[in-house]
Amino acid sequence: MKALCWEGINDVRVQDVPDPQLLNDQDMILKVRLSTVCGSDLHLLTGHIPFMQAGDVIGHEFMGEVVEVGSGVTKHRPGDRVVVCSFIVCGRCWYCRNELYSLCDNTNTNPAITQHLWGADPGGIFGYSHAMGGFRGSHAEYVRVPFADHTAIPIPEAVDDMSALFASDSAPTGWMGADLGGVKQGDVVAVWGSGAVGQMAARAAQLLGAERVLVIDRFDYRLRQAELAFGVETINYAETSVGDALLEATGGRGPDVCIEAVGCEAHSTGPQYVYDQVKSKLKLEMDRPIAVREAIYNCRKGGSVFVLGVFTGVVDKFPLGALMNKGLTVRGAQQHGQRYIPMLLDRIASGELTTSHLATHVMPLSEGARGYELFKKKEDDCLRSVFRL
């Protein structure tokens, strides 16, 4: 079958790879219909996450049609249309039972790497390096789905393929930021990053009762899209002081909840960005936590900061003093997708949540390399490239 493979730094190519097989009783094989790029893939492309092998199939946000099920699969049948969460989950360990699905104990087949790096291993992810299990990704004609009854979710008839696609990762990740960030009725919420996850977090904040939602980015086309889709307020940090704008918007208090949806290769303006770039190039700092610093600094006293962006290791100049003295709650997580996906599909079906506008560039898998190039360089107002298979 054809698949989009990581072949080296900034080098992805469509290759012929063996078809996936059922390896466990609880596996199923999915014929992928749609699979989208994600900002976190760029950390793989750039080599920021050094646990890739040439020939690895990438991609983790996808939907498709079931074509084969193992003897232990009871909830899905060939022909079913499903969305698959980027995290593979067993559904029965303590973490899964407590809806902390991305922390699943039984799905990372290489636990030693992340146990040494982080003290414990999160669950496995499709197409996201050998540190996260080495599972093949979804930019392929077919993909094996382990623990299929728990990892994949049926799509209601009223939800079209493209809308369902983003229920795989962007929508549940964004929702989780607003939910676990503690957004309440009447809150002012600031979201750093107007990509797919940031936009979904902004919409989630609205639906959870936030009175004002402000989205921060440097690309006007992304801010415009968020404004058009959801009516949020926007701040272009390349043109406006974020701190001043947030103080003005909140009567001098600062946002109640700050959601960071940028990640470890953040951009900024001014000397701080140069400092972080130099340190990361010299390998004296693994991640650039620019948006996290800004969120902590600007959050109101006693407020909440949720880190949705992907980080890999240690950071420098973390504002611990602000966190402690302002009495903040700082929390982060990879997405606990299965907790939210059924509810999000219902909200998509009812029209409360729109997602299909995120797919700005739809193309065949054969154009996978171009899709990543457009996405990485933010060319042609690309928000998400989606591969149709």
Partner: protein
Amino acid sequence: MNTAGKALLATGVATAVAVARRRRRASHDDTSERWLAVTVNRAPEEVQSSMPDDLARWHDQVEISVRPATGDKGTEIRVKSTGEVPAHELRLALRRAKSVLEAGEVVRPDTAPTHPGPMGKALQLVTNRAGGGGRL
């Protein structure tokens, strides 16, 4: 190799060295004295009555302790070698037993890429043993 490639290689090598160092240190610490443990999301009596073969097969070379976990978190299975069972084997057995008890099977890794390259092969050396390494 370009600059980014060299940086990636350096990071990869540094990580592999760190993992190997920790593994050596862990292996030394684990040889005989320390209990290795996992917590299983099942009741103690269920664990006792259906101990998976992965652990049961070591019964004459390890001490096995089963006790309730705190806070309704299931059951702690602890093992300590009384013979020459390597810690690597015990960690692997504990993880497999936990997965069988909780999820009914041990998820198998996908097949490795066909052309991993020199860095990929180095990474394979790490991942080939990753199931029995790490912190338990």
